[in-house]
Symmetry: C2
Subunit: 192 residues, 2 copies
């Protein structure tokens, strides 16, 4: 997706050899026009699939998922919770997710009420690196006996192994910008 | 806002005398059609004001803010962070917020890059109770020497004192559903 790659090149900041900071448009300040382009693109890439619901995880995924949902006919969004919340049902699907960035394991949870066996679910997230967050969402959908239609990612780091782990589960992955490598503070994209 | 009050009455769950659970459409599962109605309504209520940016706080505010922003001409959204994030600038505006629900103080932060003195900011959040989260956002805008145009709230609990504290700062508050009281598990609305 050219407009996204352009945005990453002009506004992204690289920290070390692995971290790309895109907080001017993706995960702190949000560019709503870009999110609508992202929504259009996901709709095109999953146009042959029936999708009844979008699943993401707090916090950065929520805004993307909400705008994307409009391009799929305003289907509901569910966001899994990472943090204890007084207003979360006790009856949840849950799984552990290991974060390499933070070097710790956290739980993600979704109320059993909002994912049903008939659901055909598109998982949306901002980044795909080691794939643990996405695989956690896949696990939640499977606990609910619903179907994962695919995983839609805004920025994939292809030098980490998230994609292969998800594809090994038989799940389609669509990433709108795929970073092959970060070398000498320069981003090299793979065609996507 | 009638459609919102209707939704609260049909889908909301009351816990004790103070907590209203609306996770079927507001802060766990998200009703995108309703969010667009909410966006229209905020646009009407703030139609006479110039607004350049929407500020909210993770996590539940993000989805609302993103959809609302579309009704203000796709202006950018900034969400303040509650949790440590590897990708957050060290140069931030920050303030402490005391949560009565969790009985603890947490920090909210926003990068100095994304709130500027020229900004005219609409603060958006899902709930207004004691007002601490909204006042924390007001404080961040003021640290940035930007202007708070108003605070837009989806559900206000008028039996707690958030509104008065914000209005005492000279700030307009618009809430789309105002709950006067919760008595014997029944919600009594104030006209809004």
């Amino acid at each position: 997706m050219e407009v996204l790659k352009e945005k990453i090149l002009t506004e992204g900041t690289i920290i070390g050899s692995k971290i790309l900071k895109v907080d001017s448009f993706l995960n702190h300040q949000i560019d709503i026009n870009l999110f609508n382009e992202i929504g259009k693109e996901f709709k095109e890439r999953f146009s042959s699939h029936e999708i009844t619901k979008i699943l993401t995880v707090e916090a950065s995924g929520i805004g993307i998922a909400c705008i994307v949902a409009q391009h799929f006919g305003n289907i509901p969004v569910v966001f899994a919770k990472k943090h204890e919340a007084a207003n979360l049902d006790s009856d949840t699907y849950e799984t552990d997710v290991f974060s390499f960035t933070k070097n710790k394991t956290y739980k993600i949870r979704a109320s059993k009420k909002y994912i049903n066996p008939e659901d055909k679910i598109l998982i949306i997230d901002d980044f795909l690196a080691n794939g643990n967050a996405s695989l956690g969402l896949v696990e939640i959908v499977r606990q609910a006996k619903a179907k994962v239609v695919g995983v839609g990612i805004v920025i994939e780091k292809a030098f980490q192994n998230g994609r292969i782990l998800i594809e090994n589960e038989g799940i389609k992955v669509e990433s709108l910008a795929i970073i092959k490598s970060i070398q000498d503070s320069k981003i090299v994209f793979k065609d996507a």
